[in-house]
């Protein structure tokens, strides 16, 4: 049976088994048989296990544990993308397509939210519906921002860039991907189960008291967390152990460094949001009181545990985008990456410092007064390593020979947008100023400038940059540029005014606001619709080019990292023979400088009579 169908079937069996088990246990304890909350949890845990087993864990893994031979893998062609395929290139595309689709859906939710916000009063949605749309938009986008560059481009490119034929743990890689479709189902389920009011941050006590949709959100976050952790382990092991001969740390492409730093954060911190989700679920369904003050709990504890992950998470969102931007800037300026070591140090500095800034999300939460100060200090200092990335970008552009094709335009936009996003973060890090701006549209503007302006523009830079490599075809350059300018203008017109709205008294997550702000909100909504429409150009370009685009050469950009030395798209095991790395990939301007040589395929064995 096709793996996806088998997965769905076994998932349904799992749900039934889980619920049945719950009923039996409850009856054995003399409780009424059915309770919705625990039923959802048990059903989901068994259902998820069934799904993973059915989609491939059983056939390609678990059978071996029981002494039976694993099923041989024989799928070819387009069907591989719907199978438990362990080729990192297939998995990269699976991640990329699924998450970009989720991105577009979450974008549609934003259009609905902005429609409601066009006018001050209530228009289309009641409050519960609005809160749900807004929460789903945020939740889905956060998952996309955290997972996409690493899942799609990390998986596809890192093995190739280090000269390997696959990731260290190919089956684990496939498993990490197949955690993601259930997340989509859960988010849909959240909407169908009544929605939820908490935003993507899921603060308690509201999260354990509000409608059932909140628990679907908790389970979704937990699930994608598993995927992140497994993926990070794979990346780190691959980069440490599978680098080709000659690829020393000092010659590693900056994109690989950025993914490595991201993986370190993901691997070490994701557990905390998992914990926050589990604690919320336990409060809701099992009578725990982590966050119930009436029974000795502390609602603020949730915020600490949640943000201990979720702050490093935003660096998970931006570091890969910085990596892509710096990579593209160097290759499209045909100049070495300026201050490479400082850029690496900056990224690693951000990784380390991101662990000690989390409570800047909590300055108005009711913390013990003096606690705000160390977090203000650490947050203001994190701008220093971040600045090193900007030094590298600007230094590379200076006196370069800039090729302003679509990937480069997006990479440049990352720098421009993040400048605004980053500087506005400094305002928020100042405790007195944050007293006013916390939970306002100033914050909304700040994080859209950093995560979307930086992270998503970086994602699109990567998509256009690596499209020819991954599909073997060129995208349409004119449409690419059109998409860029449309998206860039739409983005800035939408989010720049939000700083003003926040300063002038508009708080977050509300559908009704002061009438005086109606005019500006109308402008923002119109700009948002304009921004949304830009993706039509993108989707059209991607689909038509993938199907009918011009054949792409191995190295259409004249770049130097290893992926450009092999055909487009790369063959199954990437390299005919192990590459030998001679220098870093930024040897522009030095005649004869070479990053690596790809060995020719070993000669076929002579035919014997």
């Amino acid at each position: 049976m096709k793996p996806v169908f088998k997965g769905i079937l076994w998932a349904l069996l799992g749900v039934i088994l889980g619920v049945a088990l719950l009923v039996v246990i409850r009856l054995a304890f003399g409780l009424p048989a059915w309770k919705a909350g625990p039923a959802v949890v048990m059903g989901y845990l068994f259902g998820l296990s069934g799904w993973l087993l059915g989609v491939g864990v059983w056939d390609y893994w678990a059978r071996g544990w029981l002494g039976r031979p694993n099923k041989p893998y024989t799928t070819t062609g387009w069907r591989r993308y719907f199978d438990f395929d362990t080729d990192h290139k297939v998995i990269g595309i699976q991640y990329g397509v699924l998450l970009v689709v989720l991105f577009l859906i979450a974008g549609l939710l934003a259009m609905v939210v902005r429609y409601e916000l066009m006018r001050p009063g209530r228009d289309l949605l009641n409050s519960a519906e609005y809160n749900t749309m807004m929460s789903l938009h945020g939740t889905t986008m956060v998952f996309v921002a955290v997972a996409t560059i690493m899942g799609a481009f990390g998986n596809y490119l890192v093995p190739i860039m280090v000269g390997a034929d696959d990731m260290a743990y190919p089956r684990l890689n496939a498993l990490s991907f197949w955690f993601v479709p259930p997340v989509g189902i859960l988010l849909l389920g959240a909407a169908l189960a009544g929605g939820y009011d908490t935003g993507w941050t899921g603060y308690t006590p509201l999260a354990s008291l509000t409608r059932m949709g909140a628990m679907f959100y908790n389970l979704a976050f937990l699930t994608i967390g598993f995927s992140s952790i497994l993926g990070s382990i794979n990346i780190i092991t691959t980069v440490i152990t599978m680098r080709a001969p000659g690829l020393t740390w000092g010659r590693l492409p900056i994109f690989v460094w950025s993914i490595l730093g991201t993986a370190a954060l993901s691997m070490l911190f994701t557990q905390f949001v998992g914990l926050a989700m589990i604690m919320t679920i336990l409060d809701r369904v099992a009578g725990f009181s982590f966050f119930d003050p009436a029974r000795g709990g502390n609602p603020i504890l949730y915020q600490h545990v949640f943000w201990f992950y979720s702050h490093p998470a935003v660096y998970v969102m931006i570091l890969p985008a910085f990596g892509i931007a710096l990579e593209i800037i160097s290759h499209f300026a045909r100049k070495p990456l300026f201050a490479y070591k400082w850029a690496v140090a900056g990224m690693l500095g951000v990784v380390v410092m991101s662990a000690i800034v989390w409570a800047h999300h909590m300055f108005t939460a009711g913390l013990e007064e003096k606690l705000a100060i160390p977090f203000m200090i650490s947050t203001e200092l994190i701008s220093v390593p971040t600045g090193m990335v900007f030094l590298a970008a600007l230094g590379t552009l200076w006196h370069g020979r800039l090729n302003l094709k679509t990937p480069m335009l997006f990479a440049l936009a990352v720098i421009f947008n993040f400048l605004i996003g980053g500087i506005t973060g400094v305002f928020l890090s100042d405790v007195p100023v944050d007293m006013h701006l916390q939970d306002t549209y100033f914050v909304v503007a700040h994080f859209h400038y950093t995560i979307v302006g930086g992270g998503i523009f970086g994602l699109f830079a990567g998509i256009y940059y690596w499209f020819p490599k991954m599909t073997g075809r060129m995208y349409n350059e004119k449409l690419g540029k059109l998409h860029f300018w449309w998206m860039f203008l739409g983005f800035n017109f939408t989010f720049l005014p939000m700083f003003w709205l926040g300063i002038n008294g508009m708080n977050r997550r509300i559908a009704d606001y002061m009438p005086q702000l109606g005019g500006l909100n109308m402008w923002v909504s119109m700009a948002a619709f304009f921004l949304g429409a830009s993706f039509i150009v993108f989707v059209y370009n991607m689909v038509v080019s993938w199907v009918r685009g011009e054949q792409a050469a191995a190295n259409p950009w004249g770049a130097r990292t290893l992926e450009w030395l092999i055909p487009s798209p790369p063959p199954l095991h990437n390299f005919p023979g192990a590459p030998r790395v001679l220098d870093d990939p930024y040897g522009y301007g030095v005649p004869g400088a070479v990053h690596a040589r790809v060995a020719p395929a070993p000669a076929p064995a002579p035919a014997s009579d």
Partner: protein
């Protein structure tokens, strides 16, 4: 310095001049009606003044490079093999470090100290958030009313809000005062304000208490007017309010009542509840 460097520097200086002029003359902040607002607005302006040269430095190099160093079509030659400049990098990093440390002290620690210095409790008001309204108590005046639609504060008085919640997180934010503090169930949080301008919501919509922590479906409507009154008017207000609250009447002064018609029945049904509450339109 070569010609490009000179031009970029001129560009930077020009952009900075324009930026700084805008930063100090533009009326960015709305009405400020408390001592604390002045502290916070000053902090904001200082950060803006310091941010401008940083932003313009990046933008000057950025835009100049894009325009000046663009490769002509068909030109696929490499740029110069410049790997870095350790002296420049050191200056860059030290410069950003000095700036970061400076703003920690000013307006960071300085602002915090100024806010602390403005704290006082000449008048204490207790505010309790409940989905989706506020209950207010003036313990000094033996006044309390639920489902509050307004509170009044005497001008030039140090007020302390003792804030708590009955159910989920809420937050007390008065935009005109620039001060915000979450309402947390199970504990009392504190907010200090010293209003220094007479006025009320009809004069400026930022003279309101706005719940600023998402608390469910009634969140946007969880507001109340803030009236800053002269001392004698405040005493009158207290008198009238006590009569209203005592007499149970809710007309005339419009002290309390339902905010918005759609909040009935929505919300939590007790600890550990996992059944969907009915949605109301």
């Amino acid at each position: 310095m070569n010609r490009d460097g000179v031009i970029v520097t001129i560009l930077w200086v020009a952009m900075t001049a324009i930026g700084e002029w805008l930063a100090v003359t533009a009326r960015i902040m709305p009405l400020g009606a408390a001592e604390q607002a002045a502290v916070i607005d000053e902090a904001f302006t200082l950060l803006l003044v310091l941010a401008v040269p940083v932003a313009t430095l990046v933008l000057a190099f950025f835009f100049y490079s894009i325009l000046r160093f663009r490769a002509k079509d068909g030109d696929s030659e490499d740029g110069p093999p410049v790997r870095g400049n350790n002296a420049l990098a050191l200056v860059w990093v030290l410069g950003s470090l000095i700036l970061a440390v400076y703003i920690i002290f000013n307006p960071g620690l300085k602002g915090i100290r100024e806010l602390e210095a403005s704290q006082g409790a000449d008048l204490v008001i207790q505010i309790e958030g409940v989905q989706w309204h506020w209950n207010v108590r003036y313990p000094d005046y033996d006044l309390s009313y639920d489902r509050a639609l307004q509170i009044a504060l005497p001008v030039d008085t140090r007020v302390r809000f003792d804030i708590t919640s009955q159910d989920v997180l809420h937050s007390v934010w008065i935009p005109a005062f620039r001060m915000k503090m979450d309402a947390v169930p199970g504990r009392v949080t504190t907010l200090y304000v010293t209003p220094n301008k007479v006025g009320d919501f009809s004069m400026d919509p930022n003279l309101r208490v706005q719940c600023a922590e998402l608390c469910g479906t009634g969140h946007p409507l969880m507001r109340m007017d803030v009236r800053v009154l002269e001392q004698d008017e405040f005493q009158e207000w207290i008198q009238e309010a006590r009569e209203q609250a005592m007499g149970g009447g809710m007309e005339g002064m419009d002290m309390s009542g339902e905010m918005g018609g759609e909040m009935s029945g929505e919300g939590m049904s007790g600890q550990g509840a996992d059944d969907s509450a009915k949605e109301s339109k």
